[in-house]
Structures are given as C-alpha cells and as structure tokens.
C-alpha cells in the first residue's frame, strides 16, 4: 500500500511562543480518508495547510507523494506538490471575476498547459458529476453557497489530483445545503480518492473516514478508527469534545 502523506514530528510556533503545532506525526495511505477533528484553535487548519505549503513549519519533515519538504521553504518542491494536490477551502474562494467554467479551466490551461478544448471538456464533465453543469456560464456570485463549494471541488479535481485536502468545507454553508456537498465528498471517497478532511460533521466522519485524528492546542491527542473514537474514545479530552458536539 502506497503512503501518500507521511508527517514526521513537525512543530510550528508563533512569535509569542505559542505552539500552533506541537510534534505532530501522522500517516495516510492511498485511497484512505483521514478526518481531523478538534476544538477551534487546536491547529487543525494549520496542519492541513502545511501539506501544500500554504503554511510553513519550524521543525520536522513532511513527505507528500514522495516529495519531501522541511522547515526550509523550497518553492520548487512546494510547486510540484501543489500541482498534484487539490484543496477546498471553508469560504470556497472561487475567483469572482471568472465564470464557473473559467474558474475550473484556469489551472489546467495554465499550469498543465492543456488545450482549451480538452480542459473545457473535462471541466464540463466534472460539473456534470457535481450536478451543476447548467451553471457553467454563470459567475460565482450568482450561485448558492452549496453550489459554489461544489464548483470549488470541481476546480480542485480539474488538475486530476492524487490527494484532496478539505479545510472545513461545510462550515460556511446553510444547514440545509451541507448535505449536497457531503454527498459529493462521499462519492469521491467511494471512488478511491485519498482525502484529508478537517470537519465537525460527525456523521460524515463516522461513515466515510478510515481514521480520525483528534487535536487540541497543537498536539495530536489521539488517533483511532471511527468505531473506537465515537463509541469509546481513549482520552478524556476527546470524550469531552464529543459530548459538547452532541449537545
């Protein structure tokens, strides 16, 4: 089984001596889904953002798809990673000045240098998969949050990534819109996509994840399978968090 992500003892501290990441290690195999949970400010987002170089770290090493990065920011290596790793953000972050289809084809055209016909064809295929091909000519502001997030997923998929990162993909959505995004993510997981998901959605984590990583104040508190984590969490801190979520 291929290992996609291997994180070895990474740490990051802010200037005030606050630890954002404290000696974090983890491993994700191909085709697996890792869900990262934890209270806000626990470092989940910081951790997932180190995987594609949006966040630097001070110590340790990360190996993504065989490309190693460490505390020395190496633009070329990070660029290589970004071409093979897709990311979906909490606030969708679509480009407001481009149409939906142009949002999706921007990177394939300019990063992978594909032909326009090829890129647009694949873009339409992805929009079809997301069930929003009728919006291809519209602009992001004309779409609902759930639709925008599905466009963002299609945009991340347009580069045919080997790993997808989701940073709280449903936190900015209306409750009734959350499922349309989660359904798309479930389907991706079934199709064998390797995914790392920061989320508070317990049901999604229960159904889809292969592994749950619970963090608090920059530390990994526990790593378990979802069965164990949700029925019988090892740590007091995890149980307390889950109780709070249930309320």
């Amino acid at each position: 089984m291929n290992t996609i992500i291997k994180v070895k003892n990474i740490s990051k501290s802010y200037s005030r001596g606050l630890l954002a990441l404290d000696n974090v290690s983890l491993k994700v195999n191909q085709g697996k889904v890792l869900v990262i949970m934890g209270p806000s400010g626990s470092g989940k987002s910081t951790l997932i953002r180190t995987f594609n170089g949006l966040e630097t770290f001070d110590a340790g090493e990360i190996d993504i798809l065989g490309i190693k990065i460490n505390s020395n920011y190496d633009e070329r290596r990070i660029q290589k990673i970004r071409k093979r790793v897709g990311m979906v953000f909490q606030q969708f972050n679509l480009f407001p000045h481009l149409s939906i289809l142009d949002n999706i084809t921007l990177a394939p055209l300019n990063v992978q240098k594909r032909t326009r016909i090829d890129a647009e064809e694949f873009g339409m295929y992805l929009l079809n998969q997301m069930g929003i091909s009728m919006h291809a000519g519209k602009y992001p502001s004309q779409l609902s949050g759930g639709e925008q997030q599905r466009v963002a997923i299609a945009r991340a998929l347009a580069l045919k990534p080997e790993l997808l990162l989701f940073d709280e993909p449903t936190s900015a959505l209306d409750p009734e819109r959350i499922n349309e995004v989660l359904d798309v993510m479930r389907k991706l997981a079934q199709d064998g996509m390797t995914m790392v998901v920061v989320t508070h959605e317990i049901n999604f984590a229960k159904d889809v994840s292969d592994q749950i990583l619970f963090m608090d104040s920059g530390k990994v508190i526990e790593t378990s399978t979802p069965d164990i984590f949700f029925s019988n969490a090892k740590h007091e801190r995890s149980r307390k968090f889950l109780n709070q979520l249930d309320k």
């Binding site: 949006l54 660029q79 972050n93 679509l94 407001p96 921007l106 300019n110 502001s141 945009r155």
Partner: protein
C-alpha cells in the same frame, strides 16, 4: 391619488421655503433674482448672440489646421476609436474579437500616428497642424494607454518585497503626486529639449504625451494599489493551491480584480486627464481650448468669447458625460462578475 401627491409636495415646499417672514422674504428675493438672470440670458441667447463664430469654424474646432483634403484621416481614426469603445462596453459575440480587444486598443496608437502624421503613401502632415478635438483626443488616448501599464507596474513595485524596488517606486509616486501638473508639463515642453543632445528633437505633441504619462501613471498606481489591497488574501491562497506561479497569479487574479475594483477611480483619472489636456493651450498647443483662444484672437470674431466658451464647455461636458456613462455601464456589467 395624484392630487394627494401634489398636495403633499406643496406642503413640503411650504415647510422648507415659507416657514416664517424672513424666510418668505429670502425665498421671494431668490426667485426674483433667478427670474431676472434667466430673462437676461434668454434675451442674450435670442437677440444678441452670434453663433457664426462657432458654425463657420467647426472644421477648426474639430481638426485644427489639418489640410482640408486630408481631413478624412482624423475622422477615420476617431470613428475607429468610437467603434472600439462600443465593442469594449458591449462585448461582441465573436470570441476572437473579445480576446483581441486589448491588442486592438494598443493598435489604436500606431494607427493614429500613421493616419495623423502620414507617411507610407499618405501625405505627411506636421504636428503643428494638429489641433482642436483631434489633438485633445490624441493627447488623452496616448497618455492613458501608456500610463495604465506603467501605473500597474508601479503599483506592484510598491508592494514588492525587494527594498530598492519598493523604495524607488514609492519615491517616484510620492514626488509626482507632490508636484502640480502644470509644472510637469512645463518640464516636458521647456526642459526636455535642453537635456536632449543637439540634433535630436522630440515633437511637441510627444513631449506633452510624455509629461502627461509621467504624471498620470503615479495617480493610476495609487488607484491600482487600493484595488490590490481590497483583494482578500484567500484569493491568492486558492490560486497558489492550484499550482499557479507568482506571475500567473498577478496576471490572472490580481490585475483583473484590482482593475475591476479600481474602475471608478480610473474613470475619474480618464475624465481628469481629458480635461487637463486643456492646460496645453497655455503651452502653445492648439487643442480644443487652444483653438478657441486663437479663433478669438482673429479680429473678425473679436469679443465673442461668451459664444466660444459656451460652445467649448458644452463639447467638454458632452464628452465627459459620455465617458462617465460608459464607465457606469461597464461597472454595472462587471458587477455580476
């Protein structure tokens, strides 16, 4: 329903204009003055004004002393400018044309130079024969097309992490903004010829365009910088996560978005530039205002400055209004995006 509305209106006017005796007096006095003034100007308009100073000189106002047989050349240029402005605002269906609009805009400069100066089979015309609206438009279009990319470049340099680049562009922008435009124009007209080696001479029109470009690009840089600062950092992050490099992020994300945000401010710059070209009339170029002044110097039309200035004011007003309306339309269209 209708009478109710009118009654409400009258009541409101009463409350505002006639609520005590002093107020009544002032209102009546003002109405009387306005009435007198409009009567005066109306009678001047009907009985005393002589518009022949405008009507007989229309070609001068439009083309200056451009040779009569060659007037089709500036006309062609101005019409193609109008055409391309319309195409930019109401986008054409053909994708190739939409994609090449920028090139077409840049191409307007060589086309204008060729049509106005002549050469290559066209009879050549000296720049001292350029004048009137043609020259005003030439100055405005060339300066703004040159100043926009320079302004964008300066804005990015000012944001740069390289200390020297950042400082140099800051110094340039701040010093240009600290100097009055007329001083820069004097520099262009009087000092540049002194700096140039003997034998090398730059046309007066180009010296003016050069000075306007220097000046306006500093202001455009500040407008673009405002646009850049309004773009959320998350836009850059999502572009990065898609594997776009620094240059691609600038080209596909930052420039289009900052231009869109800065559009109202840039419209102001364009209208300001158009009006400021009239300053060249005191530096010896016979653009729209300049040609008006030289017509007034003609003994045949002596003392008819009211007609001439009313005419000039309306021409400036109409063109500026068209510019503003075009920009408003463009803004509205971009707002969906």
């Amino acid at each position: 329903m209708h009478t109710k509305k009118i009654k409400k209106y009258i009541k409101k006017i009463r409350e505002i204009l006639f609520f005590n005796s002093l107020n009544n007096f002032l209102t009546i006095l003002l109405i009387f003055t306005i009435f007198l003034l409009s009567l005066q100007s109306f009678s001047w308009f009907i009985f005393n004004s002589k518009w022949s100073v405008v009507t007989t000189n229309i070609p001068l106002f439009a083309f200056g002393t451009f040779p009569e047989s060659q007037r089709w050349r500036p006309i062609t240029w101005i019409i193609s400018l109008l055409l391309i402005s319309v195409l930019s605002i109401i986008p054409p269906k053909w994708k190739w044309l939409r994609k090449n609009l920028l090139i077409a805009w840049i191409g307007m400069i060589p086309l204008g130079i060729f049509l106005l100066y002549g050469g290559l089979g066209l009879q050549s015309v000296m720049s001292r024969n350029f004048g009137g609206l043609t020259l005003t438009i030439l100055l405005t279009i060339c300066s703004s097309i040159f100043a926009l990319p320079i302004g964008i470049g300066l804005a990015f340099c000012r944001q740069s992490s390289l200390f020297v680049v950042k400082k140099l562009s800051s110094i340039y922008i701040d010093s240009m903004r600290a100097v009055p435009l007329i001083a820069v124009l004097f520099f262009g007209q009087l000092l540049i010829p002194l700096f140039l080696p003997l034998g090398l001479e730059i046309d007066r029109v180009w010296r003016a365009i050069f000075a306007f470009t220097l000046f306006v690009s500093a202001y455009i840089a500040e407008d673009i910088r405002g646009g850049l600062q309004a773009i959320p950092n998350t836009q850059i992050e999502s572009a990065k996560s898609l594997g776009l490099n620094q240059l691609q992020i600038i080209r596909f994300i930052l420039i289009p978005q900052s231009l869109q945000i800065a559009l109202p401010a840039l419209t102001n710059q364009a209208i300001g530039l158009f009006q400021n070209t009239s300053l060249m009339s005191i530096l010896g170029l016979v653009e729209l205002l300049g040609i008006g002044r030289s017509i007034l110097a003609n003994p045949k039309f002596i003392g008819q400055y009211i007609e001439v200035y009313i005419w000039l004011a309306s021409v400036y007003w109409i063109i500026c209004t068209i510019l503003a309306l075009m920009a408003k339309y463009l803004e509205k269209r971009l707002k969906i995006a």
